[in-house]
Amino acid sequence: MSSFTYKPELSERGALIENHWQDLARGRRLYTMLSLAVLALALTGSLWFANETNSGKFFERLPHFFDFVGDLMPRDGIEVWRALLDLPSPYFDGSLKYDYPEGRYYVTDSLYVPEYVYKMTETLNIALLSTIIGFALGFLLSFLAAKNMTASPWIRVPVRRFMELLRAFPEIVLAGFFLAILSLGPIPAIIAVSIHTIGALGKLFFEVIENADMKPDEGLKAVGASWVERAWFGMVPQVMPNFVSYFLLRFEINVRASTIIGAVGGGGIGEQLRLSISRGHEAKTLAIVLLLFVTIIAVDQLSAWLRRKLVGDQAFQAVM
C-alpha cells in the first residue's frame, strides 16, 4: 500500500536494529504464507472429500440447487396463508397435499386448529418445560459447583465434571436412547433437552455465583446463618436477575433444539416439517417454515426485551 519509500540514513546500531526488524518481519510473513498454504490445502482436501462422499456430486447437482425454490413457489398470492390457516384449497384433489384434514384439532364442529399449529405449541412446551427442569436442577447444582459457596473440592470437582459430561453428551444420543425405551413422542425430547440444559445452565450459573459480591454472605455468616440461609438470602437476590436472563437465552436455544429433535422422532413441529418436505407438500412446507420463522423471531424478541428489562443494556446477546 505504500506509494513511496523513505530510506533515512541510519547509524550502525540503527541499521542493526533495522535489519533485525526486517528479519522478524520476513519470518512473520513466511509463517503467514505457510499457514495460509496449509489452510488452502486443508480446504481443498475437505471439499474434495465432501464431494466424493456425498450422494450427489456438487457440479451435477448445482443446476438443481434452486429446484426447491421452484417447487415451493406458491401458485397464487394467498396459497401460503390458506395453507397456514388450513382453509379449503381450490386445488384439493383428495390427497393430503393441499388440505390436511387428518390431524386437525376440532374446537367446535367447524372451528379447528391446524395440526402443525398444535404441534408448534407442543414444541414450544417441550422447550419451556425442559428449560424449567434444567433451570431448577442447574440452580441446585451450581451452588455446589461454585468455589465461594462450596469450599471442599471433593464435592465441587465431581459436580463440575458431571455437568461437563451432561453438556458434552450429544442430545441426539440421549433422545435416541429414550426413544427406544419410551417409544416415539415428545417425552424423550423433553428428557434429552433437559439433561443438556442442566449442564449448560449449571456452568453459566456457577460462574455468576463466583462473581457475586460476598459481603451479604459474610454478614449472614457473622450472625450464624446456615448454608441454605446464606445461599437463599445472600446469593439468590444478587444472582437471580442474571439467572433469569440466562434462562430466557436458553429458552431461545431450546426452541431450536426441540425442533431438531422433533425431526428425528421427538414429535412436535420438526417431525411435521420433515414429513411435509419428504412427501412434497409444498404449500404446507412453506406454511410450517413461515410459522417456525415467525415463532423463533417472536421468542427471540420477547426474550431480548425481557432480558433488557431485567439486567439493563449489558444483557447477554443471543449468539446461537
Binding site: 464431494n51 412446551n125 424449567i132 425405551i181 417425552i187 431450536r256 417456525l292 420463522f293 423463533i296 449468539v319
Partner: protein, 494 residues
C-alpha cells in the same frame, strides 16, 4: 435513631415496614405457577401414561449393551432325552466355540431321527405354466420319515453364569444354583415347565407350565422352555473390536497378532499379513471402523468448510453492514436484515432443504452451516466493527491513505483477533451442531449414530461413536480455547 424511637415509628406507621404484597408472595406465586404448568404438561404430554407403558427392564439391558455383549448358546433338550448345544451363526465367539464356562459331557449314542416332511421347491415345467405352482409342489413333497443315526450327543451340561451361579442341565431336569439357593425345574413336553418349589424373586413365570425366565443381574439371564434352555451370558467389553469371526486373525491374542504381522508366515499366500490385518480391521462387519471414521471426518469437514466459507462471506459483508464504515443507512439496514433472515431460518431447516438439493451427504451440511453462520458471524462482526476505536482510523486517514488502506491499517488490526476468535468459537460449536443436523440427512456421523440407535441392537456401536465424538469435541475445544486465549488474552468474549 435509637431502637425505642424506631419501634415507636414502627408502631405508628406499620405499613412502612410491611413488605409489598408482591415481594411477600413472589416466591409462592412463581412456585405455584410453575407447579400448575407442570400439571398442565403432565396432562398435555400424557406423561403418566407414557411412563406407565415404558419398558424399564429393557432400559437396563440397553445401557449394559453399551459396554458389554451377550453370548447366547441354546441347550436343546430333545424328547428322547438327548441334548445338543447350539450357537447362533452370528454369535460373537465364533462358529464352533467350546467356551470353558459351558462344560458338557458327551456320549455317542444311536438314535432315530425324525426328518420332517419338506416341501420340495416346485419348479414350473415350462416358463409358461399357468398351473399354480403351490399345487404342483405339494404333490412332490417328500414324506416324513425316520432315520437311524449314530452321533455324539450331550448328556449333561453345566453353564456357569458367574463365580456363584450356575445352571445344571440334565435331560428333562434343570437345576439352578444361585448363591446358596437351589431351584429344580422339570421339563416335559406334555406338562410344560414346572418348578419344584415356589419361584424365588429372580425367576419369573407368566403362567404355570410356560417358560421360566431367570435373572442373574449383570451376568446375564436365561430362559427355560420345555424343549431348550436358552442362555444369555454377558461379558464386559466390546466383542471382536479388532477382528471379526471371519477374519483369519480372529481369536488370536495381541502378541500372536503382532508376531504374525512382523515376522510370521503368510496366512494368505497372495498378500502380506499387514494388508490382510488392515482389511480385516477396517472392514470389520460389526464395527465398520472405516465407515465410522469416514462419517466422523465428514462431520469435522462439514463444520470446518461451513464455518470457513461463512467467515469469508461474512467478513466483507460486515463492513457493508457496519454503520460507521459504510455511511449509508439503507445499505446497512438491508445487509443487517439479510443477516437476520439467515440466522432466523434455523440451521435445521436449511439442512432439510439442502438435503433435497444435494442429496444426503456432507454438502448439504456444509451449505446449512454456511447459510446460518454467515448471518450469525455477519451480525457479530458488524457489531464488533461498530464498537472500534475511531482514533486509529482518523490517524491513518489524516496522513492521506487510500480508503482500502484505512480499513487495512486503521480498522483491521483492532478487530482481527476478535473476528478470528469468533470464527474459532463457531467452528468448535458447529462440530457439535453438525452431529445433530447429520441425523436429518445432512451427512456425517449423526445419521450413522441415528441408524445404530434405531435398530436397538447396536448400542455398543453407539457407545463407540459417542466416545469418538466426545474425543473430537474435546480436542477441538482445547485447540480453539488455546488459540483464542492466545489471540485475545485469558478471557474470551464469548
Amino acid at each position: 435513631m435509637s431502637l425505642s424511637e424506631f419501634e415507636a415509628v414502627a408502631a405508628r406507621h406499620p405499613q412502612l415496614l410491611m413488605p409489598s404484597f408482591w415481594s411477600r408472595f413472589r416466591v409462592a406465586a412463581v412456585g405455584g405457577a410453575i407447579a400448575l404448568y407442570f400439571v398442565f404438561c403432565w396432562w398435555f404430554f400424557s406423561v403418566g401414561q407414557v411412563l406407565g407403558t415404558a419398558n424399564w427392564g429393557i432400559a437396563a439391558g440397553y445401557l449394559a449393551d453399551w459396554i458389554s455383549y451377550e453370548v447366547r448358546p441354546d441347550i436343546v433338550v430333545r424328547a428322547d432325552g438327548t441334548m445338543q448345544i447350539e450357537f447362533s451363526r452370528y454369535d460373537p465367539i465364533g462358529p464352533n466355540p467350546c467356551p470353558d464356562w459351558l462344560e458338557a459331557e458327551h456320549e455317542t449314542v444311536t438314535r432315530t431321527v425324525e426328518i420332517p416332511a419338506t416341501e420340495m421347491q416346485a419348479k414350473p415345467k415350462s416358463s409358461f405354466s399357468f398351473v399354480a405352482p403351490s399345487n404342483a409342489g405339494k404333490q412332490e413333497a417328500a414324506e416324513a420319515r425316520t432315520e437311524t443315526r449314530t452321533e455324539e450327543v450331550v448328556t449333561h451340561a453345566v453353564a456357569s453364569m458367574n463365580s456363584t451361579d450356575r445352571i445344571d442341565v440334565l435331560p428333562g431336569h434343570v437345576e439352578i444354583h444361585r448363591g446358596n439357593e437351589t431351584l429344580g425345574v422339570t421339563l416335559s413336553r406334555n406338562d410344560g415347565v414346572r418348578a419344584d418349589r415356589d419361584l424365588p424373586a429372580w425367576a419369573t413365570q407368566r403362567a404355570s407350565g410356560e417358560k421360566i425366565v431367570l435373572a442373574f443381574g449383570f451376568s446375564g439371564w436365561a430362559e427355560i422352555r420345555d424343549d431348550a434352555v436358552k442362555i444369555h451370558k454377558r461379558f464386559v467389553g466390546w466383542e471382536n473390536f479388532f477382528f471379526d469371526i471371519d477374519s483369519p486373525f480372529f481369536g488370536k491374542s495381541a502378541a500372536e497378532v503382532f508376531g504374525l504381522l512382523f515376522s510370521g508366515a503368510r496366512l494368505d499366500p497372495n498378500r502380506s499379513n499387514v494388508s490382510l490385518a488392515l482389511e480385516g480391521f477396517l472392514y470389520n462387519p460389526s464395527w465398520q471402523h472405516l465407515d465410522v471414521w469416514t462419517k466422523l471426518l465428514q462431520t469435522i469437514v462439514m463444520a470446518f468448510v461451513g464455518t470457513f466459507f461463512a467467515t469469508i462471506i461474512a467478513f466483507p459483508l460486515s463492513f457493508v453492514a457496519a454503520r460507521n464504515i459504510t455511511r449509508n443507512g439503507v445499505v446497512n439496514q438491508i445487509t443487517k436484515r439479510f443477516f437476520d433472515f439467515q440466522r432466523s431460518v434455523d440451521m435445521f431447516i436449511w439442512a432439510l432443504f439442502f438435503t433435497r438439493a444435494f442429496g444426503p451427504g456432507p454438502l448439504a451440511g456444509i451449505s446449512a452451516i454456511f447459510f446460518t453462520d454467515t448471518g450469525t458471524l455477519g451480525k457479530l462482526y458488524s457489531e464488533a466493527l461498530e464498537n472500534i476505536d475511531d482514533k486509529q482510523r482518523e490517524g491513518v486517514k489524516s496522513v492521506g491513505a487510500a480508503p482500502l488502506a484505512v480499513q487495512r491499517f486503521g480498522v483491521l488490526p483492532q478487530v482481527l483477533p476478535v473476528f478470528t476468535s469468533q470464527a474459532l468459537y463457531f467452528w468448535e460449536s458447529n462440530t457439535r451442531s453438525a452431529t445433530i443436523i447429520g441425523a436429518v440427512g445432512a451427512g456425517g456421523i449423526g445419521l450413522k449414530l441415528w441408524e445404530a440407535m434405531r435398530t436397538n441392537q447396536d448400542w455398543e456401536n453407539v457407545g463407540y461413536m459417542v466416545l469418538l465424538i466426545l474425543i473430537v469435541v474435546f480436542v477441538f475445544d482445547s485447540i480453539s480455547n488455546a488459540v483464542r486465549s492466545r489471540l485475545i488474552g485469558r478471557r474470551s468474549t464469548l
